[in-house]
């Protein structure tokens, strides 16, 4: 199996889907000739031409709107937001139109669009280039939000998103793009949207998280294993709708649960995870459910020291895990 980076898995999923289905096309800022600012669409312009790899104006509302319209007429657009932070002008299109059209038209219309956007910090991007925006969309029935943590999951889930008949927001952690590498099968495979994945089996504490934080947790878990602390790690993969069954099972397994997100703590998706655990697992809980998240400040700071303060990292995860294990 070839080893790919996280971003190479994005590119290969796009390429394979465009080959497989000529209704699939890509649009976004600089996705064409340049191949994307992160080079996620590298080579697609040369291979599929300007009719299927569209460079758009700097107008996210139009990128989403054009995509939604094309999708309603049977195309399968993959729209790229250059940074997740830039998605805000497109929110009305995504929430008011894409998420609701199937319901509103009583199944006459649907919107098979995938909107990709790089999110997350740790790259000295400061505000506008570091935010986690998933919570904005995570209470809109009709939308699905996928946030994979490994190259393998990226390819399988991006393919599943493109083939899904309803709108999917696909958030990719930009620091993971070249940081994370892993084995990715060359053949065609899809992974189910809405299913969490156990990334590590353990019996002492349960970590539930998603995206880059999965790796921080795995790193910390390896370290703590030497001290005899055995962590169970559940990767949500899809953060809306949540895989309730998997969350309940993982929480019950150890009764000590740590939830991690890079997003601002209050109102983040892990608050919802905590509520699911509270509703279903009271008599299996052995400790208060803990949350590790970014502080409630408006944006990722630019100063490296402050960015470090804001970001979740393996040390913070390790500390939180150890405290919970010792409780």
């Amino acid at each position: 199996m070839p080893v790919m980076s996280y971003i190479q898995a994005v590119t290969s999923a796009l390429k394979e889907e465009m080959k497989r289905d000529e209704k699939v096309f890509v649009l976004g800022e600089d996705v064409g000739k340049k191949g994307g600012v992160f080079r996620a669409t590298d080579g697609l312009f040369d291979e599929f031409g300007e009719d299927r790899v569209l460079d758009t104006p700097l107008a996210e509302s139009a990128i989403a709107g054009v995509g939604i319209g094309a999708a309603m007429y049977g195309m399968r657009p993959v729209a790229e937001m250059q940074f997740a932070d830039f998605i805000m002008p497109a929110v009305n299109q995504i929430i008011s139109e894409a998420a609701k059209i199937r319901y509103r038209s009583n199944n006459d219309w649907n919107v098979p669009i995938t909107i990709r956007a790089p999110y997350g910090g740790g790259v000295h991007g400061a505000l506008y280039h570091s935010q986690s925006v998933e919570a904005v969309f995570a209470n809109q029935p009709g939308l699905k939000i996928v946030m994979p943590s490994t190259p393998y999951d990226v390819k399988g889930l991006l393919k599943a998103s493109i083939r899904d008949n309803d709108p999917v927001l696909f958030f990719e952690h930009k620091r993971a793009y070249r940081l994370l590498k892993g084995e990715v099968p060359e053949d065609d495979y899809v992974l189910p949207i809405g299913k969490a994945d156990i990334k590590r089996e353990g019996s002492d504490i349960t970590i539930i998280t998603y995206g880059l934080c999965v790796h921080f947790a795995l790193q910390a878990a390896e370290k703590l294993a030497e001290e005899g602390i055995d962590a169970h790690i559940l990767d949500l993969r899809t953060i809306y709708p949540l895989d309730k069954e998997a969350i309940i099972e993982a929480a019950k397994k150890t009764g000590k649960v740590l939830l991690i997100t890079e997003d601002n703590k209050e109102g983040s998706i892990i608050g919802e995870v905590a509520a699911i655990i509270a509703e279903n697992c009271l008599f299996d809980l052995d400790a208060p459910v803990q949350r590790l998240a970014g502080p409630d400040v408006p944006s990722m700071p630019y100063a490296p020291t402050m960015e470090k303060f804001f970001m979740v990292n393996p040390d913070k995860v390790e500390k939180a895990m150890r405290e919970l294990a010792e409780f």
Binding site: E227, G228, I229, D230, G255, K256, F283, D286
Partner: protein
């Protein structure tokens, strides 16, 4: 007067022990504070250990050649300072000890003993367990879900009103809980009948330790460039027979590569660095380690001041060091002081590899096989001698930009090596 201990100091990040190469004092010698008392060799540095006190050496606790762990006793010294002044260190020790015993006995703080989590309470009720008789291993003596699970598993449940004997045996089981997972984690691989067990000793052990340390400490990053060495190959093939006849040893391709790397490092001294915790040390001397394999062993002898040597001089060093390695005559001096490693992976036929950095250096360059390949030049195919150079870098010290520039420079030097503008002497 007071008798003090001098212990092995911490001689560098990740150094855990030191070997006393020479004692500079003997019992009865008077020393001043900060005077050197011994030369100590570690796998990283050779250093003099200064005296922590002014006084008279009383007793050496180790002989030359002995290896002592950091913080362990080296020698006793009778100080001229008053006994009271030295007491704080004793106090510190005893305080440390107290703290340690505190940690070892979690039972001391029992404030959480009667705080039961929903899981613990439910399980105790379902199994009719008297929680008063269960020992807690959680913080503040709290009974954890795992403690209860352990009790249920043991089948020896203290019911309300159970006897004292019961209670005693219960306590024992509960006490054992914390150590159980540790033992499981440390379980080594088992061998099956017919498998061969090879004891890990000597050089193999050192290789294993160095590799593990390098991979654990150093965040590796990798980069590869391909270089057209057609001219270099022609040049070398033209002169190699004459060279061998005249000099008595072979002119290898590797010598050209080592020379080019040394020259490029001179222009990019950042490559010649070491991570030292709170700082980066940029080395002045360019001493290139080269990897030499012998049966089951791997040595990395050093070509010292490679930038000052001609291609011939480097070829001679490579020849000498390789001969020494093969006949087991390499000395500690031959292996010391390397600042950057050049690895001739091409000699194994490899065309791409990701080297493990030779700790504590900041980078290693793999010289891969020279392969004749079709290459497009001016829109036409040409058969060219191509070689990949694969760099592994310590990403704490180096970034992609500087390494890219460095590799581009090495490439430039190699591609312009030919009979017209290069001299092997």
């Amino acid at each position: 007067m007071a008798k003090e201990k001098i212990n092995m100091p911490q001689l560098g990040e990740s150094v855990t022990e030191g070997t006393i190469s020479t004692w500079l004092v003997s019992p009865g010698d008077k020393v001043n504070k900060y005077d050197p008392i011994a030369e100590v060799m570690t796998d990283k540095v050779n250093a003099e250990v200064p005296s922590s006190f002014t006084g008279t050496i009383k007793e050496l606790a180790a002989a030359e050649g002995d290896t002592i762990a950091v913080g362990e006793l080296m020698c006793y010294i009778e100080t001229e300072e008053k006994a009271e002044e030295s007491k704080p260190s004793d106090k510190e020790v005893s305080e440390e000890k107290q703290e340690k015993t505190g940690e070892d006995a979690p039972s001391a703080d029992q404030s959480m003993k009667k705080r039961y989590s929903p899981a613990v309470l439910r399980m105790a009720q379902e199994n009719d367990i008297d929680l008063d008789q269960v020992n807690g291993t959680g913080r503040g003596g709290r009974i954890t879900r795992k403690d209860i699970e352990k009790v249920i598993k043991s089948g020896n449940m203290p019911s309300p009103g159970g006897s004292h004997e019961h209670q005693g045996s219960k306590t024992d089981t509960a006490d054992k809980i914390p150590s159980a997972p540790k033992a499981a984690a440390a379980k080594p691989a088992e061998s099956m009948p017919g498998d061969i067990e090879i004891p890990v000793t000597g050089v193999r052990k050192a290789i294993a330790q160095n590799m593990v340390r390098s991979k654990q400490e150093i965040p590796h990053a990798w980069m590869t460039v391909e270089v057209d060495v057609t001219d270099l190959v022609n040049y070398r093939n033209q002169v190699k027979n004459e060279f061998k006849q005249k000099e008595g040893f072979s002119l290898t391709f590797f010598a050209f590569f080592v020379k080019a790397v040394a020259q490029a490092i001179k222009e990019f001294p950042q490559m010649n660095s070491t991570w030292a915790g709170d700082k980066i040390i940029q080395r002045k001397d360019i001493n290139l380690s080269i990897a030499v394999a012998k049966d089951q062993e791997l040595f990395v002898p050093v070509i010292k001041n490679a930038d000052e040597k001609s291609i011939k001089g480097i070829a001679r060093d490579i020849y000498d060091l390789a001969m020494k390695a093969r006949s087991g005559k390499l000395t500690a001096d031959d292996m010391k002081g390397g600042t950057f490693t050049v690895n001739n992976t091409g000699s194994f036929g490899s065309i791409h590899s990701m080297g493990v950095i030779n700790h504590p250096q900041a980078a290693i360059l793999q010289i891969e096989s020279i392969v004749k390949r079709p290459v497009i030049i001016n829109d036409m195919f040409a058969a060219r001698d191509m070689v990949n150079l694969s760099l592994s870098l310590d990403h704490r010290v180096l970034d992609g930009l500087i390494c890219g520039q460095f590799l581009a420079r090495v490439k430039d030097i190699l591609e312009n090596t030919n009979k017209d503008n290069s001299n092997i002497y």
